[in-house]
């Protein structure tokens, strides 16, 4: 909402010396937030004058543009009195028009952030152009750059300063208006707040004597009184559609951010800005029969003023005549009855519409309009007659003709119901002493009727449909007292329990991954079929079964992620593309898997749903497990003066998984498997006991190519919820024996296909409880071992808790271990 300060002052008797900054600050503190403060023309210096176009010659140019070579009468403003030669690229004017000219030496604002553009006489398109004919945008008057400003005839004489005509010297406050304060989408409302803020008198522009309803007005029938509780129609006849709007009105409309168009349009906009009540005008000659308000019929269509042919919903409120729908009530008029420059009889509609219906229609048809914005937030229903009368007055004042005596009023405004407010509630909510008298006076200041003492009965004013509950009134009282008076007191909660175990574990997982050299990334969880194709997933892969968004940002990525791998792979490729020689990334985050347990119910809000209802709600929400994904690509250890580095490979992925499990005290098992997007022969299935929690290994070469990653890149993805569930809070303390260590190394030959983990498991089982640790330290293949065989060398370490082990004891334990490996996997000691 853009409010010219002089317009505010017309209704609020503000102190003459009050600065606009102060005014804006006060209104901001009251809840009308200052968005920007504009002083149109303040950045323009030098000669800015009214000019009259004398001649214009169209000259097509080689670059395809056509320019106009104009001579413009600028009076004596150029010092010579001779016509000024100016090249102009716009075409929306003709000789005789009054235009705004900046003469050489003048400075225009220029683009935002610039210091301004100084105008000088310069050679262009074969002429010396001495100045510029200005558009609204060039003057900082908004974004309109479709043509230059053409002033109304009689706006002034050539050579006169153009500033007063343009409204320069005015100040405009642009407010951000919250949806509950629709009343502030009018000068009436803004000025009321200003007067309240400075405790000065206020003149309500809607206080106006209006003629009583009679049966002589344009016939109107409202078939849906709920959707349209009030419909007022007035008629102006003999109106001259070519009459210009007075310059003051055009200026105000322009300063308020709307484009002056014609007297009829400007007046309806002006009255909407003044009162908050949207008005619609019909060309009476085009109306066929009585106006009817009803819901649209199935399949009914309407071409709205924006030229769009729309199929209507049976929930849409339409204004009709005998020809059918002629407007979307309260939202936008139709083309067939649009006022034109031949309209001489105008039917003025000022109607009150159901805000919910307005909201739905606007949303359904993706229509936003100044009228719709106000109607869906709620307008004072009592001012329809006032607004219509005001429009009729302005139209006849400036466009001639007469206001017909007929006054049609259908329906009556709903009356607001009283709210019961304990007088002390405001103070109790604010934590601030507020005198009972102040509660009452503040509520009266916003226009409410207040009665009662301890328990107040408060009837909100008709322009405040947002006030429904006691707490709504509390906000009014406290904002007028001043939010800045609320003291600062730290509440004292009961003893807290700190972070949950899972919250602590998540932090620990992040730190562990970082400690393993990985950098955390945060990616968008949006994927699509192409993402899954790049990962090489089969058509029936479970990961392709994803939650679909109905309004994705990109049609290529309409699905919510089921895996974090795409995000880390993209980020890895991006890093390498930016010159990194190697990258190790991780991400933790939730993914989603659709449930098949039905839709999420939408309950009422009057009371808490039952436990069973809540369970149904929670069950319908997709499972969203927390995953960890990591990728290692390119250099893992760097080359340097110390020697060679090392590229990341499948072992890094498995080392990270094992490192994490070890940090969390979880015993992992790793099994050989195949699963896209991993290399089919280099993929580890990561398990805890029998529970599969993820995969780690080398990325499939095809996937590496798809993402532009080096072959051999390593990736892992595991389910952290499952991992965390298997951790113990504090593990039992180990017994640290001080007895001497006994070492035994064994080399075992097994079939190449036997997983080392199985050999190790057998050795461990056979070695018995004297075994302290076991470590595979060498893998050897070669002719000495034989085809299809491999030799695994393990270091076994034995120790007893209470004595020095004898050679015989350790020897026996070693032999038992080897025997176990032999029987389990056919191992032969070398």
């Amino acid at each position: 909402m853009r409010a010219p300060v002089s317009w505010i002052r017309e209704y609020a008797d503000l102190p003459a010396d009050l600065s606009t900054d102060e005014l804006a600050r006060k209104l901001t503190a009251l809840g009308l937030k200052l968005e920007s403060l504009e002083r149109p023309g303040a950045a323009i210096t030098g000669p800015l004058v009214i000019g009259r176009v004398m001649t214009m010659e169209s000259e097509p140019q080689k670059n395809g543009k056509t320019i106009n070579w104009c001579t413009v009468d600028v009076g004596d403003a150029n010092g010579t009195g001779d016509p000024q030669g100016i090249v102009c690229g716009a075409h929306n004017f003709a000789p005789g028009d009054l235009v705004v000219v900046v003469l050489p030496g003048g400075v225009l604002p220029g683009p935002p952030g610039s210091d301004g553009v100084e105008i000088s006489a310069r050679k262009t398109y074969g002429h010396v152009s001495a100045g510029m004919i200005c558009s609204a945008r060039e003057l900082g008057l908004g974004d309109d750059h479709t043509g230059i400003i053409v002033l109304e005839p009689g706006s002034g004489e050539p050579g006169e300063d153009a500033r007063p005509v343009l409204g320069f010297g005015e100040e405009v406050i642009e407010f951000e208006i919250n949806p509950d304060r629709a009343y502030a989408l009018s000068l009436r409302g803004v000025a009321r707040e200003a007067a309240m803020g400075f405790h000065t008198s206020y003149t309500d522009p809607c206080r106006r004597e209006v003629p009583a309803a009679n049966g002589d007005g344009y016939p109107v029938r409202v078939e849906d009184a709920e959707g349209c509780p009030v419909f007022v129609a007035r008629t102006v006849t003999g109106f001259d559609p070519r009459s210009p709007s007075p310059e003051w009105l055009r200026t105000r409309v322009r300063l308020a951010g709307m484009r002056p168009i014609s007297l009829a349009v400007d007046v309806t906009n002006y009255v909407m800005l003044e009162t908050g009540r949207p008005i619609h005008g019909y060309d009476s000659d085009k109306l066929q029969g009585a106006i009817v308000v009803r819901r649209a019929a199935p399949g009914e269509r309407l071409t709205t003023l924006d030229g769009v042919d729309r199929e209507l919903s049976t929930e849409d409120l339409v204004v009709c005549d005998d020809s059918g729908a002629i407007g979307l009530g309260g939202v936008m008029g139709g083309e067939t009855t649009e006022m034109s420059d031949r309209t001489s009889t105008v039917v003025i509609e000022a109607a009150h519409w159901d805000p919910v219906s307005m909201f739905r229609t606007g949303k359904r048809h993706r229509l936003t309009s100044e009228a719709g914005k106000r109607n869906e937030r709620g307008v004072d229903p009592t001012i329809c007659q006032v607004a219509a009368d005001r429009v009729a007055e302005l139209l006849t004042t400036y466009g001639g003709g007469t206001v017909s005596p007929g006054v049609t009023v259908v329906g009556s405004p709903p009356s607001p119901s009283a709210i019961t407010l304990p007088v002390g509630l405001s103070a109790r909510v604010a934590g601030l002493p507020i005198a009972d008298a102040d509660v009452v006076s503040n509520l009266r200041a916003i226009g409410a009727e207040v009665s009662g003492v301890e328990t107040l009965s408060v009837t909100p004013p008709p322009w405040r449909p947002d006030l429904r509950d006691p707490y709504d009134l509390v906000e009014e009282v406290v904002r007028i007292v001043g939010y800045d008076r609320v003291p600062s007191v730290i509440p004292v909660p009961p003893v807290g329990r700190g972070l949950t175990r899972e919250q602590r574990l998540r932090r620990r997982i992040g730190r562990t991954l970082a400690g393993l050299g990985c950098v955390e990334v945060v990616s968008f969880p949006f994927v699509g079929d192409e993402t899954f194709d790049a990962l090489g997933l089969q058509a029936d892969d479970v990961l392709r079964h994803a939650v679909r968004l109905s309004n994705p940002l990109s049609s290529e990525k309409p699905l919510y992620a089921t895996t974090l791998l795409p995000g880390v792979l993209d980020a890895a490729a991006r890093n390498l593309g930016r010159g990194a020689t190697g990258v190790a990334l991780f991400e933790t985050g939730t993914v989603a898997f659709p449930t098949n347990r039905g839709a999420a119910p939408v309950y009422g809000v009057e009371w808490r749903p039952t436990e069973a209802e809540l369970q149904k709600l929670f069950d319908a929400i997709p499972a969203q497990p927390l995953l960890l994904a990591a990728v290692l690509a390119g250099e893992r250890e760097r080359d340097g003066w110390w020697g060679d580095g090392r590229a990341a490979d499948w072992t890094d992925a498995i080392e990270i998984v094992r490192g994490l499990a070890s940090e969390l005290g979880v015993d992992l098992e790793v099994r050989q498997t195949s699963r896209m997007p991993w290399h089919p022969s280099r993929c580890a299935l990561v398990c805890i006991g029998d529970q599969e929690i993820g995969h780690a290994g080398e990325l499939h070469p095809r996937v590496c190519r798809a993402y532009g990653l080096p072959r051999g890149s390593a990736v892992l993805e595991i389910d952290l919820d499952a991992l965390m569930a298997r951790t113990v809070e504090i593990p039992p303390a180990p017994i640290v024996s001080h007895q001497p260590l006994a070492k035994e190394d064994v080399a075992l030959v097994v079939d190449a296909t036997v997983p080392s983990s199985e050999v190790e498991r057998a050795l461990r089982a056979g070695a018995g409880e004297l075994l302290e640790s076991i470590r595979l330290f060498d893998v050897f293949t070669g002719p000495q071992i034989g085809d299809g065989k491999k030799s695994l060398a393990f270091a076994l370490r034995f120790r007893a808790p209470d004595r020095t082990l004898t050679e015989a004891e350790t020897g026996a334990a070693r032999d038992a271990a080897v025997a176990a490996a032999s029987s389990a996997v056919g191992a032969v000691q070398r």
Binding site: T28, A29, N178, P179, D180, V356, R428, A430, G431, Y471, D472, E475, V478, R479, Y483, V486, S488, V489, I490, P491, P493, G496, L499, T500, Q503, G510, R511, A514, G515, V519, E520, V521, V522, F526, V547, L549, N551, L553, V568, A571, A572, N575, V583, F586, A592, A599, A600, P601, V602, Y603, G604, V605, L614, L617, A620, I621, Q624, R636, E637, G640
Partner: protein, 367 residues
């Protein structure tokens, strides 16, 4: 060594004369002192302290002396030998120390050589910021509450007094899932965690809820379809707006420095009433005269918009089954990304979600 020679004439054993012994000792000491390195000292040791050295030979002669002379000669030779061994040990220590000294010099390296065999990892600054915020509330006794990102429409909107036709729903551009009648959304704010918390716990409730949220915004320097919010919720007896102000003042001071306070401006959120926007004192110019007009951070306002807050609307308490006559609550919500950008001076939101390691690595693993 020969056995005792009782017929031996001591007078003839000149080697055991005092002057002779002293001379042998002094020669040994001189030789040790003269040894310039451990090799020379080794030779000197063989010459003067070895089995064939004069003092060793002299020692051997003691047994040949008449018993009455043995004691004195023994003492004399013993003392000399003792002095020699000590001198040898001392000289050895000195020369070893010198040798080690030389070796250590020879082992000189250029410690300015860069050593980064494996670059270190880092956690994402938004993770760290979320934890930092959580910790400062946990320190006050609050707890951290969480909820899912894919959320029921009822929890994201209705339970928060945002009915299906509430104009405020258009303020938030929501990602909906298909089919629409599943009534699921990507949560547009962390506020559904408020509702969940009130549904699952009984007052007193003091929780902080950091989390990821989504709006259908394009991805550019100042917008992102995904960002992070932190929600605070308190429900207890006797809660007032003053408690809200106190909590936010504390929060602001811990985040942005002592002296950074907040101010409230009336605003509108369906789930709070009264509602307020929270501004904080600009942490750069602190609104100080002279500095504020030049300040680029707050654009000369002295205040920075930080978030929204208010008293929990009694309608929300009712939908969550909390006795609104007995309990009152407050809630607030801030952007974590925005707060982090303020703190770090990061100017482009895209840097947060691109995954460039150079960005996250600047922030380490914990704050």
């Amino acid at each position: 060594m020969s056995g005792p020679n009782t017929d031996y004439d001591p007078v003839e054993v000149t080697a055991l004369q005092a002057e002779q012994v002293t001379a042998m000792r002094d020669e040994a000491l001189a030789a040790f002192a003269a040894a310039g390195d451990l090799a020379e000292l080794k030779q000197a040791r063989l010459d003067h302290a070895g089995d064939r050295s004069p003092l060793a030979l002299a020692n051997r002669e003691i047994g040949a002396l008449p018993p009455q002379a043995r004691k004195e000669a023994g003492q004399r030779v013993g003392q000399a030998r003792g002095a020699v061994s000590k001198a040898l040990a001392d000289r050895t220590a000195v020369l070893e120390a010198e040798a080690e000294e030389r070796m250590l010099v020879e082992e000189t390296v250029d410690v300015t050589l860069p050593v980064v065999r494996r670059p270190r990892g880092a956690r994402h600054p938004l993770t760290l910021m979320s934890e930092y915020i959580a910790d400062l509330f946990v320190a006050m006794g609050w707890e951290v509450a969480e909820g899912p990102v894919l959320e029921a429409e009822w929890l994201n909107f209705d339970a928060l007094n945002l009915g299906p036709d509430h104009p405020a729903r258009t303020m938030q551009d929501t990602f909906w899932t298909e089919p629409a009648d599943d009534h699921l959304v990507l949560r547009t704010h962390t506020s559904p965690v408020q509702a969940r918390t009130m549904l699952e716990r009984t007052p007193p409730i003091y929780v902080i809820c950091p989390g990821r949220v989504f709006r259908t915004d394009p991805f550019d320097a100042t917008h992102s379809p995904m960002f992070h919010q932190v929600e605070g919720l308190v429900v207890d007896e006797g809660i007032t707006m003053a408690h809200l102000k106190g909590s936010l003042d504390h929060f602001a001071a811990r985040m942005f420095g002592e002296g950074i306070t907040t101010r409230f401006r009336p605003s509108y959120f369906p789930f709070t009433e009264p509602s307020a926007e929270v501004d904080m004192v600009c942490f750069v110019c602190r609104g100080e005269v002279g500095a504020v007009d030049e300040c680029r951070t707050c654009k000369g306002e002295g205040w920075i918009e930080w978030g929204g807050c208010g008293v929990v609307n009694p309608r929300v308490l009712a939908a969550c089954g909390i006795d609104a006559d007995r309990y009152r609550g407050f809630a607030f919500g801030m952007g974590i990304d925005r707060s982090f950008m303020f703190r770090s001076g990061a100017g482009d939101m895209r840097a947060l979600f691109e995954g460039d390691v150079r960005f996250a690595s600047a922030f380490g693993t914990d704050w």
